[in-house]
Symmetry: C2
Subunit: 631 residues, 2 copies
C-alpha cells in the first residue's frame, strides 16, 4: 500500500502531474456555464461547446453552441481553486441545514469510525478536514422520497429538473425520431414537479446522503436520461489512495454519473473519505466487503452487529447508495449448484457461504427493516444487489437468478414503506434474445423501481474486449428501460483497470446510454447527433471533433492520416482523399436538387419526370458544376 503522496493539486508528485493536468484541462471549444435556478445558490453546470459557422460556399449559416450534460464538477471550472486536501465546496450544505430535520453529531456513531480516527498508523493518510457527521433528528426521515411524498419539491429536485431539461430548451435542430420506449414517459419538458412525482412513486431515485453535501444532484429513473456508473477501488494487489482519487476524477471527467468504490484492500475507510470529499457525483459501496475485512475474510464470522456498525460508519462518511445482497436467500443457494459458473457475485457468494455455514436465513434479509432505519437517517439509497446473477451465458435467466429478483421486488416494497429510495441491480451475462425478459420481470415485480445493470455481456468468448461484449447488452437493456448502466472495462475478468481502461469503459458506456436515449426517443437526445452530422457533412472537422464524446481521440486519429492543420478545413474526407469524396459529390447533388425541388417533387408525384429533367439538365449545365474541387 503506497502512502498518499502530495494530494494537493498545486503540488502533485511527479507521477501524478499528468493526472492533475488531465483533471483540470478544459475540453476544446468548451466552457463551463451555469444555469441559475429559483435561488442564488442553485446553479446547474453544463458544458457549452461552441461551433464554427458553415463555410460561406455551403451557405454560411451560424451554428448555435451546444450545451451538454456535465458530470466533471468544478474541476473543469477555471474560476475554482481545486485542492484535493480540502475537498470540494459544499453546495448542498444550506439546503440540508434549512430543512432543520437533521443535526450534527459531536462524534462519529460507529465504533470502527472512532477507532480509525484515533489510529496513529493511518494518521499520515487520513483526510485532514473530516467534518462531524449529520444524522436525522430523532423520529425524522431525511430521504428525498420522504420529502417527495410530503409534496415537497427540494432544491435537489429543481436542480435535477434544470439539469435533465436543458437540452430540450435549446432553440436548435431537434429533428428526432419518435422512438419506442416500452411504457416509459417522454416528456417534452421535465419540471421540478415531475421529478417529485417520479421520486414519490419510487420510479426514480436521487442518491444524496446528507453527509455528502459536495454532490451535484442527479437522478436515476427510466423517464430521465440513461446514466452510467464507473467502478473503481483498490484490492489486496495494490493501487494507492491517490490513484483511486485520480481514477474517480478521471471517470467523472469523461461522463461517469456515479462512482462505486469497490476497494477491498487495506485502508478502505481512509480511501473512501478521500474519494467522497472530492467527488461531485454520488458514491456507492458494497458494505459487506469492508465488513468481511473486519472479520479477517472469514464469512462465517460475519454478524449483524459488525455489518450494522459498517453501515453507520459509511453512512456518516457520506456514501450515497449501498449495494445490499438481501435477496440471497438460504433456499436459493442449492439452486446454483448445477450452474456452469455457480455464484460469481462477491457479495452473493459471501452471503451464500454465511447462510450455509450457519444454516440460517441471510441476516441482511432478516434485518432488512433495521437497515431501512439506518438508510432513512442519512438518506442512503438501496442498490439491492443481484448476488445470484449469472456468470456466464449458460446460466442466464435461471431459477436462482429470477427467484432472487422476485425477492428483491418484495424488499422494494418494504423499503418504500420506510420512504427509503431503492434501485435494483441486474445481470451479468445474458444472450441478446434473453435480455428483455430480465427487464420485463424487473418492471413487474419491482413496480418500476429503477433497474441498474452490469452490461449484460452477450458472449463469454472475448476477454480483453468485455467493454464491447457488454455494451451491446447494455444499449439494448437501456432501451428496454434500465435507468443506469454499470460500465465494464476491457480488463473485466483479467485485472484491475488502469486510467486508459477506465476511459475506454466510460466512453463505451456513454455510447450505450446515448444509443438507448435515442431508441427511447428521449426528448432532445438527438440534438448532439444532428449537430455532429451536420458538421461532418459540411467538413467542419474541428466541430466534428469537439462534438464527439472523446475529442482528443477523434482528432488524433484524423491527424494520423492528415496531420496538416490545413486538412482540418479540407473539403474532403480523409477516407477518400481530395479527388474522391462522396460528401463533396452529395453537396453538388443536393444544392442542385434543392434548386429543382418543386419541379422534381411535382414530376415525381405525377410519375412523369421528363419535364423536370429537361430543366434539370439545363440548370445543371448552367451552373457549370464541376465534380471535384482542387484543395
Amino acid at each position: 500500500m503506497n502512502k498518499l503522496t502530495t494530494p494537493s493539486i498545486q503540488d502533485l508528485s511527479a507521477q501524478h502531474e499528468q493526472d492533475a493536468k488531465d483533471l483540470t484541462r478544459i475540453l476544446p471549444a468548451s466552457r463551463k456555464v451555469y444555469v441559475q435556478g429559483s435561488r442564488p445558490d442553485l446553479r446547474v453546470p453544463f458544458r457549452e461547446i461552441s461551433l464554427t459557422d458553415t463555410p460561406t460556399g455551403l451557405g454560411g449559416e451560424v451554428n448555435p453552441a451546444i450545451m451538454v450534460y456535465d458530470t466533471s464538477g468544478v474541476y473543469t471550472d477555471p474560476a475554482q481553486d481545486i485542492d484535493l486536501n480540502k475537498g470540494l465546496p459544499h453546495i448542498r450544505e444550506t439546503w440540508i441545514a434549512e430543512r432543520d430535520d437533521s443535526e450534527r453529531l459531536d462524534t462519529l456513531s460507529s465504533r470502527f469510525g472512532q477507532e480509525r480516527l484515533k489510529d496513529i498508523r493511518t494518521a499520515d493518510i487520513r483526510f485532514a478536514h473530516i467534518q462531524k457527521p449529520r444524522r436525522a433528528k430523532s423520529g425524522r426521515n431525511v430521504t428525498q422520497m420522504h420529502y417527495a411524498r410530503q409534496g415537497i419539491i427540494t432544491p435537489e429536485m429543481e436542480y435535477i429538473a434544470i439539469r435533465e431539461n436543458q437540452r430540450q430548451q435549446q432553440g436548435i435542430d431537434i429533428r428526432q425520431h419518435a422512438g419506442q420506449n416500452f411504457g416509459a414517459q417522454n416528456l417534452r419538458e421535465i419540471t421540478p414537479e415531475f421529478v417529485r412525482e417520479e421520486v414519490a412513486a419510487g420510479r426514480a431515485i436521487i442518491p444524496a446522503n446528507i453527509n455528502h453535501p459536495e454532490i451535484e444532484p442527479m437522478i436515476i429513473g427510466r423517464n430521465f436520461l440513461v446514466k452510467i456508473n464507473a467502478n473503481i477501488g483498490n484490492s489486496a494487489l495494490g493501487s494507492s489512495i491517490d490513484e483511486e482519487v485520480a481514477k474517480m476524477t478521471w471517470a467523472t471527467r469523461w461522463g461517469a454519473d456515479t462512482i462505486m468504490d469497490l476497494s477491498t484492500g487495506k485502508n478502505i475507510h481512509e480511501t473512501r473519505e478521500w474519494i467522497i470529499r472530492n467527488s461531485p457525483v454520488p458514491i456507492g459501496t458494497v458494505p459487506i466487503y469492508q465488513a468481511l475485512e473486519k472479520v479477517d475474510g472469514v464469512a462465517e464470522d460475519l454478524s449483524w452487529e459488525i455489518f450494522r456498525d459498517t453501515l453507520i460508519e459509511q453512512a456518516e462518511q457520506g456514501v450515497d447508495y449501498f449495494t445490499i445482497h438481501a435477496g440471497v436467500l438460504l433456499r436459493y443457494v442449492p439452486t446454483t449448484a448445477n450452474r456452469l459458473t455457480g455464484i460469481v457475485s462477491r457479495g452473493g457468494s459471501i452471503m451464500a457461504q454465511w447462510c450455509l455455514a450457519h444454516h440460517q436465513e441471510n441476516f441482511l434479509y432478516t434485518h432488512f427493516d433495521d437497515i431501512c432505519d439506518i438508510m432513512k437517517a442519512y438518506d442512503v439509497s438501496f442498490s439491492l444487489g443481484d448476488g445470484l446473477r449469472p456468470g456466464c451465458i449458460q446460466d442466464a435467466n435461471d431459477e436462482a437468478q429470477f427467484s432472487e429478483l422476485r425477492t428483491l421486488g418484495e424488499l422494494t416494497h418494504r423499503a418504500w414503506e420506510h420512504d427509503v429510495q431503492v434501485m435494483i441491480e441486474g445481470p451479468g451475462h445474458v444472450p441478446m434474445h434473453m435480455i428483455k425478459e430480465n427487464m420485463d420481470l424487473q418492471l413487474e415485480v419491482c413496480q418500476e423501481a429503477p433497474f441498474y445493470t452490469l452490461g449484460p455481456l452477450t458472449t463469454d468468448i472475448a476477454p480483453g474486449y468485455d467493454h464491447i461484449t457488454s455494451a451491446i447488452g447494455a444499449a439494448m437493456i437501456g432501451w428496454y428501460g434500465t435507468a443506469m448502466l454499470c460500465y465494464v472495462t476491457p480488463k473485466e475478468h483479467l485485472g484491475l483497470p488502469n486510467k486508459k481502461d477506465v476511459k475506454d469503459g466510460i466512453i463505451t458506456y456513454k455510447i450505450a446510454a446515448h444509443a438507448a436515449d435515442l431508441a427511447k426517443g428521449h426528448p432532445g437526445a438527438q440534438v448532439r447527433d444532428n449537430a455532429l452530422s451536420k458538421a461532418r457533412f459540411e467538413f467542419r472537422w474541428q466541430d466534428q471533433f469537439n462534438l464527439s464524446l472523446d475529442p482528443d481521440t477523434a482528432r488524433s486519429m484524423h491527424d494520423e492520416t492528415m496531420p496538416k492543420e490545413a486538412h482540418k478545413s479540407a473539403h474532403f474526407c480523409s477516407m477518400c482523399g481530395p479527388k474522391f469524396c462522396s460528401m463533396k459529390i452529395t453537396q453538388n447533388v443536393r444544392e442542385y436538387a434543392q434548386n429543382q425541388a418543386n419541379t422534381a417533387a411535382d414530376s415525381v408525384a405525377e410519375d412523369d419526370i421528363s419535364v423536370g429533367l429537361e430543366s434539370m439538365k439545363n440548370a445543371y449545365h448552367a451552373q457549370g458544376q464541376k465534380l471535384y474541387h482542387k484543395v
Copy 2:
C-alpha cells in the same frame, strides 16, 4: 505510391518482417487440422485449441480440445511454404476443370487488362505469375446457383457443409439456449444437400469466381454462421501494395470471412492481383471506383462500355463479388435533398451525379441483364449496393433508402432468372429501435436473399469509437437475420485504418457475429462460450486466454496485474486478489451444495428445509471447509 518491396515471405523488407512473423505465427495451444471430405483433395481446415485438465482439487476432468472455424488459410499451416510471389495453392483448380463447362482463354478479354499487362511503367509492381483467365464456354453458366438448381452438389458445397457443421459434431458440452431466430432454420446437422437447397433457393450464396481457385469455400446466408467482411484498400493519400496484402492476411488471420478491396488510388489493377492471388477468402470490389479512375474522376464521363470493360477486367482477375449500385434510380435522387447528410455512399453519389448530369436512368439499372451475363460467365456474385443508405441517425429508414431497397428486391429476381447469386447491402446509421424494420423489409422484398450490412451505427456522436457504435447495431441486425456484417474500424469517418484498427474492427465484429449466432440459437454456437466459462470457473487461466478471440490481448492484460507465471495457475481472480475471490467461494458452496443436492432438493420441494439444513451444517463442518486458500 511506394514500389512493391520484396514480397517474398522469406525475405521481407525490414518494416515488414513483423508482418511476416505476425502472419505465420501459430496461436497459442492451437494447431491446424484438416477434415477429409468425400475425395482426397477436399480437406477442410480448422483450428484446434487444446485444453488442460481440470485441476485435481476441482475434479481432475479431461477437457476435450475445441475446434474453431478458421479463416486464416495456409499461412497458419507450418507444413506449407508461403511465398507471396507465387500466391496460394489452387485448391479448387481440379473441381473447376472437372466441370468442363469453362475454358482457358489465350488472352485477357478486357482492353484495360491487356494494356496493363504490357505497361512497362507497372512492370516492377506486377504479380509475376498471372494465369490465363477462365471463362464459361459459350452458352454455359458456371455459377454455384446454376449447379444447385440442376441438383448438383459441388465439392464447394460439401466443403462448406463440413466447415459449417464441424462444431456440432464434437461430442462435448453443447448445453445451449434455444434462441430466437425470426424464421431462420437451425438445423442440428448441416448437410451438403442442405447447402445445395439454400443456394438453389437464393437464401445463401457461395462467392467463388472460377478465376479465384485459391479460396477455401465459404457461404453467406442466415441459416449458417454469421460472417464478417473487412474492408481494405489504399487511397490517393497513400499506402502501398504490400501494405494492403499485409492488411488482407492480417484481417483473415483474425477472422475476416471475406475482404473487400476498396482501393481508389493508382495501380488498383496490380494491387488487386496481389491481393487475390494471396487471399484464402473471397474478394469483393466496387468496380465503379476503378471505372471512375479511368475517366479521371469525372462521373459524367462514365459509360456502360467503360464499366463493362472494368467488370470483365476484374472478373478475369478473380474477384468473387461486385458491389453494383443499380438501385440508385434517377427519380430517387431528389428525395435525398432534404436529408441532413444527403448521399454518403461513394458509389451512390457517383451514380446520382451521373443520372442528374445526363438526365437519364442509371446505366447499371438499364444494363442489368448485360451485367448478369458477365457475372454468370465467371461466377461473380452480386452485392447489390445501397447507394442511398443513411449517413446519419436522422436520415435512417427514409423514403430514399427504402425506395432503393424495393428496387434491389426487383433486381434480385432478375439476377435469379440468370441463376446469378445475389446478396443485398444494408445501412448505415440507424437508431436501435429502427433496425428491425430494415431486416423485415429486406426479407420481404428480397425474398430472403442474404442481407449484408455496414453496422448499422446506433449513434453519430462517437467518432473514434464507431467500431463500437456500430457493433451494437451489427449484433442486433445479425440476430434478426443479417448473413454478413461489414466491419467498421475506429478510424471510420476519420482516416484510413492501420493494422491495429483492422484488428480492433475484426475482433469487435467477431463479437457481434457470435453474439448474433448465440441469440439465434445456432447449433453448437455456445460450445466455445461454455468451454471458456468452465475454464474461468476452474482458474484455468491459460485455457481462458487460449479460447478467447484474441489470446494475445487477454494474456497481456492479465500480465499487467499479475505478471508472474505462477499467477497463471493461481486459484483466485486478478480482480479480487488471493483473499477475496467469489469464484473460489463459489466452488466451496458448489461442492458442498452438490453433496447435499438430493436432500436440498427434497427439502425445497416440500418447502421445509430444516431437515436438510441440519445435515448440511454437519456435513459442512465435517468437511472442515476453509474459505480461503493461501497461494
